[in-house]
């Protein structure tokens, strides 16, 4: 009698409930699996732990095949910020680290660690933490090693959700005990049997986040669970139970927050941004076990229901083969066609029966054609909008269907397809049996893929545009350079007319020597000009804050790089000239001291030449010109001449090579220097 009164009081508190739009009420099918208490399973013959059991990065393996591990030992550690650790769920030997089929709709294999249990089930040393007297930050940091993820099915690493460190402004914790999906009863049974552990877990989460209020939302189809929770709450005045009506999907975090607080978390914000955080009851038990018992996350409650002989909830260590669980529920009935992981609304058909139980596995349903008749073929949408009436997000599923089907992704995005929580309420009510959610998943993935492709294309286009601009700029620079070089060459010729006149008479060596010189000079002038231009460019770019600034700077650097070459080239040229002079001198000596070519010249000319020669000698320039003349004009002469010529050519070549090497070296030096910078 007393209990009834208590219960009645409990339901009174359900007054301040704020319904959300839509929702459906499929047959609950929860009674089957709540007849027996939570069962324990014998240790299975093998444990297969997929690395991918949570949202985020896959963890890093810390063991190798052949290692002996203890129960609770870390075998893979969290990698990056969003990731979760994995622990050995019983003691034994690592027998394989290989790809195996994981419980995922794709049915694709993924990396798993296989343990062959030794049957001793021997724990590592447990280290409970005195969390009440510990610093919050270090507690949350240590959670990284706990392997705890959201056990409601989302499997988001819990240490991220608790990282707020009291500064988050989280004032209210919403405890998700709605368990709105049909068939699933793991949270129900957990509350009935371990309400105290849940409340302890709540206290820890509350402490870590600095939240003042706690609201526990339970659907009204779980009166026993609500009663058990209420009984445990007596000394926690800040915690309040709210009984919400049984309506799928009230267990969706945002829907539940609306139900109990009348708060609509904006679509683009996280719950913490409005001072709320939501935890599933099973996650809280894992928290309690980690901090107070020192046990990492190695097991969960799983509802084994549907077409099995004896539906029941079991405490299952992660990695247990699903068939082991099925066997302990009396085995699957003969007409079992497949297995569903999760509920019938949001769960998925397991690609194989040979998969392990993971952190996400809150429920395994053995399905048969009688329990889950294959859907009749879809009929056309008749726009009856029953889906819109059922949508808990108040979307227009019939429009989204239309847009998704016709690949009109832009429109689908406009109609907020990304707000769809894929709860399946629309598909459930559709009189035409259209698998609507599948269309939305398709559209979403397509939009994401298109966005990525667009991003890549944008980047490529940007790069190409930059490249084209650079090529164009270089082309212009080259053209300018050529023009300037031509100009410089002309003026040079004019300036050094007297010096070159003789050279023009003997086209081979002299010209080549002269050409080299000219070129060197022209290049030097060109470089100087370019340097000046670049300096101006970059200066103006800097002044105007021109976006081409970096381009200009680059250009400047490029032009500056060869600057040391100037000196190098000069030196090389000088060396070359000296070599040449020496060789010519030698050749001249071999021919006799007087240049023979002047012999035939008129007296006045001879005199003039002698004059010039004298002047030249005075300035120390004569040798080259004179000797070249000699060499060139008297090519009729003996082998000695030739020899001398060859010798001179060899020396010249050597000198040129040396100059080139030097120049190269200098260039390399300057480059490495600039890269260092």
């Amino acid at each position: 009698m007393n209990a009834i009164v208590n219960l009645a009081n409990l339901f009174k508190s359900a007054k301040d409930i704020f319904p959300f739009h839509g929702g459906v009420h499929p047959p609950e099918n929860k009674a089957q699996s709540t007849q027996l208490p939570i069962g324990q399973l014998p240790i299975p013959e093998k444990i297969v732990l997929p690395l991918r059991q949570h949202v985020g990065n896959i963890p890093k393996i810390k063991v190798k095949v052949g290692d002996h591990v203890l129960k609770g030992q870390l075998i893979a550690e969290a990698e990056g910020s969003i990731s979760a650790a994995i622990h050995a769920s019983t003691s034994g030997t690592i027998s394989a680290i290989e790809d195996a089929i994981i419980p995922h709709p794709s049915g694709l294999p993924d990396r798993c660690i296989t343990i062959t249990p030794d049957g001793k089930d021997q724990w590592i040393k447990k280290t409970p933490q005195d969390w009440r007297n510990a610093e919050r930050k270090s507690l949350v940091d240590s959670l990284r090693l706990s392997g705890i993820v959201g056990l409601g099915g989302a499997t988001f690493p819990t240490h991220i959700k608790l990282r707020a460190d009291g500064k988050s402004g989280v004032h209210t914790l919403v405890i998700n005990a709605a368990e709105c999906e049909p068939y699933i009863t793991c949270d129900d049974m957990l509350m009935r049997e371990r309400a105290d552990e849940i409340v302890k877990g709540i206290t820890i989460a509350q402490y870590l986040l600095g939240a003042e209020n706690v609201i526990i939302g339970i659907e009204d189809n779980k009166p026993e669970a609500a009663k058990a929770m209420q009984a445990t709450l007596s000394e926690h005045a800040e915690m309040q139970i709210k009984i919400v009506p049984t309506l799928y999907p009230s267990g969706d975090a945002r829907r539940l927050v609306h139900l109990v607080l009348n708060t609509e978390i904006p679509f683009d914000k996280r719950s913490t941004e409005v001072g709320l955080q939501v935890f599933n009851v099973a996650t809280l038990v894992a928290l309690y076990r980690y901090f107070e018992l020192g046990e990492p996350s190695i097991s969960r409650i799983v509802s084994m229901t549907g077409n099995v002989q004896q539906p029941q909830n079991f405490e299952v260590i992660f990695g247990t083969p699903m068939l082991h669980l099925v066997k302990n529920a009396g085995g699957a009935k003969a007409d079992t066609s497949h297995f569903i992981m999760g509920g019938p609304m949001m769960g998925f058909n397991l690609p194989s029966a040979d998969v392990p139980i993971t952190k996400a596995a809150n429920c395994i349903i053995a399905a048969s054609p009688t329990l889950f008749a294959p859907p009749p073929p879809a009929m056309p949408c008749i726009r009856c909008a029953r889906c819109a009436d059922a949508c808990p997000v108040n979307l227009q599923p019939q429009e989204l269907y239309w847009f998704s089907k016709s690949d009109n992704f832009e429109k689908a995005n406009d109609y907020n397809i990304f707000d769809c929580i894929e709860c399946g309420a629309c598909s459930y009510v559709c009189p035409s049996d259209i698998p609507l959610v599948q269309y939305y998943r398709y559209a979403k993935s397509e939009i994401i893929a298109l966005d990525k492709a667009k991003e890549a294309a944008d980047l490529a286009r940007e790069r190409n545009e930059f490249r084209l601009a650079r090529i164009e700029r270089e082309k212009q620079e080259r053209a300018k350079k050529h023009a300037e070089r031509a100009q410089a060459g002309k003026s040079e010729a004019a300036k050094n007319e007297s010096a070159t006149r003789q050279a023009t008479d003997n086209p081979t060596i002299a010209t080549s020597a002269d050409d080299t010189k000219k070129e060197a000079i022209a290049a030097a002038i060109e470089r100087a000009k370019a340097l000046k231009a670049a300096a101006q460019n970059s200066a103006s770019a800097e002044q105007t804050g021109n976006p081409e600034k970096s381009g200009a700077a680059e250009q400047k650097a490029k032009i500056e790089k060869p600057a040391p070459l100037d000196d190098a080239a000069k030196k090389a040229l000088i060396a070359l000239a000296i070599e040449r002079a020496k060789a010519q001198k030698a050749a001249a000596l071999a021919n006799g001291s007087e240049p023979k070519n002047v012999a035939d010249a008129a007296e006045s000319v001879k005199k003039e030449i002698a004059d010039i020669e004298a002047r030249r000698q005075a300035v120390g320039l004569s040798v080259e010109a004179k000797s070249t003349e000699v060499l060139k004009l008297n090519n009729t002469d003996a082998a000695t001449d030739k020899k001398a010529l060859i010798a001179a050519a060899i020396t010249r070549a050597k000198a040129q090579k040396a100059a080139a090497d030097l120049a190269k070296q200098m260039q390399l030096d300057s480059q490495s220097e600039s890269t260092k910078e």
Binding site: H258, P380, C384, A385, V393, Q398, S432
Partner: protein, 323 residues
């Protein structure tokens, strides 16, 4: 769709009671034509036939059209109308779910424009007719166009209340004196008001079964009452009362069975309100100022065109979004 047919049964029963069982012949003809047309088209379009036939949408279209045309019209009229509705207005647009216009109303509009004389030749209610026609008389009339010996056409037909009102008003008679004519009953047309009442009953059943949402009939009836009420209050001698408008013509059929066609109607709750209200407004204006005694079909077709616009501009606020 089967429940929609079920909801029409009281209306049909009242129809038979008021006009005789000749309507059943029209209904059967319409059903057969519709199923035939649908089968042929589905076969041509290589669609599964049975699955589409068994959803009864073609039958609903056929019945609505049958109930909208005079029950003593020649047999080919309903056949032509039904074929047009199913083949042109429905299947050629892509079949179930793809027709932008209400097929029954397209069929009706085609018949009204093509055969205006036949379409306005309504039989007098049995209780008013000088010579009530028996079932066999009606059968003969429908299939051979021959009246029983010695019976004049005028003896079996009568102007509908809307028609009568319109012509009398044009003759500068006053509403209060016009409605004294025998063709008028307490609410609408004599006898006719019973059929309308039965439609209302069936419609309420559909609402209760959540086959149709309350938005459309409520908005339609409220808007029709409001607009006619305003005119009536301004000049009761020139304009008929709101009750008359609600219970004559195709008002009730329209409110619960015609504008509730989901395919050609809007889907958002607000959109449904606008859609229905505008249908009522246009229908009323056609009744009062237009060239036809009733304007439901044209109003519906016109508003069908506006559906994409209405839907686009009446999107409800999505959870977690600002308006």
């Amino acid at each position: 769709m089967f429940k929609v047919l079920l909801a029409l049964v009281p209306g049909i029963a009242a129809y038979v009671w008021v006009y005789g069982s000749g309507i059943l012949i029209t209904l059967i003809l319409a059903t057969i034509s519709a199923l035939l047309a649908e089968t042929v088209m589905l076969r041509l379009r290589k669609r599964p036939i049975q699955r589409f036939l068994m959803d009864y949408s073609a039958v609903v279209t056929a019945w609505l059209l049958a109930l909208a045309i005079p029950p003593i019209a020649p047999w080919w009229l309903i056949v032509v109308g039904t074929f047009f509705a199913i083949v042109i207005a429905k299947q050629l647009y892509g079949g179930l779910g793809y027709n932008p216009f209400n097929p029954a109303m397209i069929g009706y509009a085609v018949l009204l424009i093509s055969f205006p004389v036949i379409m306005t030749k309504w039989p007098a209610a049995l209780q008013l007719a000088q010579t009530p026609l028996s079932f066999s008389d009606q059968f003969q009339l429908i299939f051979s166009g021959a009246l029983p010996q010695g019976v004049q056409v005028d003896a079996v037909t009568s102007a509908t209340p809307l028609d009568y009102l319109k012509t009398q008003l044009m003759l500068k008679h006053e509403v209060s004196s016009i409605t004294q004519a025998p063709v008028f009953g307490v609410l609408g047309g004599k006898g006719n008001e019973w059929i309308t009442g039965a439609y209302l009953l069936g419609g309420l059943y559909l609402c209760q079964q959540k086959i149709i949402s309350w938005h459309l009939p409520t908005a339609f009836l409220a808007a029709l009452a409001l607009i006619s009420g305003i005119f009536w209050l301004v000049n009761p001698e020139q304009f008929a009362s709101p009750l008359f408008h609600l219970f004559t013509g195709a008002s009730m059929l329209c409110a619960f069975f015609i504008i509730t066609d989901p395919v050609s109607g809007p889907t958002t709750p607000k959109g449904k309100l606008y859609f229905a209200a505008f249908v009522a407004l246009i229908a009323y204006l056609i009744r009062v100022y237009g060239g036809y005694p009733d304007g439901i079909a044209f109003a519906v077709i016109f508003m069908n065109i506006c559906v994409p616009l209405i839907d686009a501009h009446t999107q409800p606020r999505v959870f977690g979004h600002e308006k």
